[in-house]
């Protein structure tokens, strides 16, 4: 009886050890407040383009995917300290960020655009760099970096939520909100009377997957996945499912926005 028990225990331990050595889950960091790329469905689960992309990546690698909801300006520290394995959060690949982390091949081309208040006289990004202009930006984004380096004569309001920045423009306290062209388009539609959108990007950007600098193995895997995903039309399907209107409008207006 004792022999049977100890054999059973040994078998259980071996099973657990074997299971533990199966591929660990892929922890993907994103900020779930950026529809339609990163958002939550009505049941509170992560949903959106980036979530689908992460799930497809997980299937390609044979690993389970765990989505961690982290504030945007906390994503890079979380990646560097090992709390997450990669960042798929519509993050622009910039030279400054590339000093801290590595990026995969780009998967989307977009640009910085302006959400302008209806009563403001701003006509382009060049109008912004003047004393008396008030510009809203979201903390940690490329819009924030652009405003801090290139718009030194204006007043820059740094807010930590997109909704607060849009509110500043809607209420007329800020002349413009610098954000990516897709979000500007969506916000303008929600506030048709109080805002206008200057959608032509004054600065083009590409989004990529963020990875740790020493994690070359994962980087190669992600690049291979992106190539395969694009080849089999995965991005087309995501675009048609989540962004049909935007795709059509942007195409009609000649604004770059494509996977």
């Amino acid at each position: 009886m004792q022999r049977l028990a100890s054999t059973a225990i040994a078998a259980c331990l071996l099973f657990v050890a074997a299971a533990a050595q199966a591929a660990p889950p892929l922890r993907v960091g994103m900020e779930l407040s950026y529809p339609p790329f990163e958002m939550t469905d009505p049941q509170g689960r992560p949903a959106g383009v980036s979530v689908r992309l992460a799930e497809a990546l997980g299937r390609h690698l044979g690993r389970d995917v765990v989505v961690e909801n982290i504030a945007f300006d906390g994503l890079i520290p979380a990646l560097k300290t090992g709390k997450i394995d990669c960042v798929i959060s519509s993050m622009t690949a910039t030279p400054e960020r590339a000093k801290s982390i590595a990026f995969s091949d780009p998967y989307l081309r977009t640009g910085l655009a302006l959400l302008v208040g209806a009563k403001s006289s701003v006509q382009s990004a060049a109008d912004l760099d003047a004393p008396g202009r008030v510009i809203a930006v979201k903390k940690g984004t490329t819009g924030h970096q652009f405003a801090a380096t290139s718009l030194t004569r204006a007043t820059v309001l740094v807010l930590d939520k997109e909704s607060a920045a849009v509110l500043e423009v809607v209420q007329g306290r800020a002349d413009a909100f610098i954000y990516d062209s897709l979000s500007v388009f969506q916000n303008q539609r929600r506030h048709r009377d109080t805002t206008r959108a200057l959608l032509h990007p004054f600065r083009e950007e590409t989004w990529a997957v963020g990875l740790r600098r020493d994690d070359t193995a994962l980087r190669d895997q992600v690049n291979a996945f992106l190539e395969a995903f694009r080849a089999e039309g995965g991005f087309e399907r995501l675009g048609d499912e989540f962004l049909p209107e935007e795709k059509a409008s942007f195409k009609a207006a000649g604004i770059p926005f494509y996977f």
Partner: protein, 245 residues
């Protein structure tokens, strides 16, 4: 063992333990990047000092007035004070800031976010001050007020000579604690884009990705404000102390 020696040893042990933790994690320090932004830190710190001081004096005034209203005997005034205190103490400062700035201030036409932020912070802290002052005032036994009237002191003299010396001594530690809280709560003003100390440190972190090198000076900066306040409070306590019969 002299107190200053004990303090030094405890602080050194604490710092040593934290330094050990950092060393074991193998954190990649990058002070140069943060040093380049020292102007931003300084500006943020000065803004926090200014906002905190203004809110500090305003909240003491608001608290004192409210505490007196609560004891005024006029039902409407007492009710106003009570409703104000319960409402403000019962809701988060974040909610008060967002509603106060984006809804109330817009409706009233107040555009200066620094003014609105200081006002909301002062009202928030004032509610707590009111309760602290009320506690101090209530601690004076009725018998003393009767005795004061018996020896011919008018209400103003009673307040000045009998009530306040005792009430202030009782309330002082709590007031100091509340003021320290206020200085730290001022960091929440960043949600309405007030460029105070915490927001500036977070911005530097966004630009340089040096999280700890941005946040350690932040902690030090707040300590530089709160430690003198605690010292001042202890000095005042000694000054107001008397032989409690």
């Amino acid at each position: 063992m002299p107190r200053w020696l004990a303090h030094t040893i405890v602080v050194a042990a604490f710092a040593g333990a934290i330094a050990l933790a950092f060393w074991r994690v193998g954190y990649d320090w990058n002070w140069a990047a943060v040093w380049a932004y020292r102007q931003k830190f300084l500006q943020g710190w000065l803004t926090t000092v200014a906002l905190s001081l203004a809110a500090l004096f305003a909240s003491i005034t608001i608290g004192a007035v409210t505490a007196l209203l609560m004891r005024s005997g006029v039902v409407l005034l007492e009710s106003t004070a009570r409703v104000y205190v319960e409402l403000i103490r019962g809701t988060p400062l974040l909610v008060q800031l967002l509603i106060g700035f984006y809804v109330v201030a817009s409706a009233v036409g107040l555009d200066n976010r620094y003014l609105v932020g200081t006002l909301v912070l002062a009202l928030f802290s004032g509610a707590y001050m009111a309760e602290i002052f009320r506690g101090g005032l209530d601690a004076i036994p009725r018998a003393q007020l009767d005795s004061a009237r018996a020896i011919g002191l008018d209400p103003w003299q009673t307040l000045r000579l009998v009530v306040l010396p005792q009430a202030v001594r009782i309330a002082l530690p709590s007031v100091a604690g509340q003021l320290v809280s206020l200085i730290k709560d001022s960091s929440l003003l960043s949600v309405i884009a007030i460029s105070e100390f915490t927001l500036n440190a977070q911005e530097v972190n966004s630009f340089t990705y040096s999280t700890l090198e941005s946040y350690l000076p932040l902690a030090a900066g707040y300590l530089a404000l709160t430690l003198p306040l605690s010292a001042l409070s202890r000095w005042l306590e000694r000054r107001f102390a008397y032989e409690a019969a």
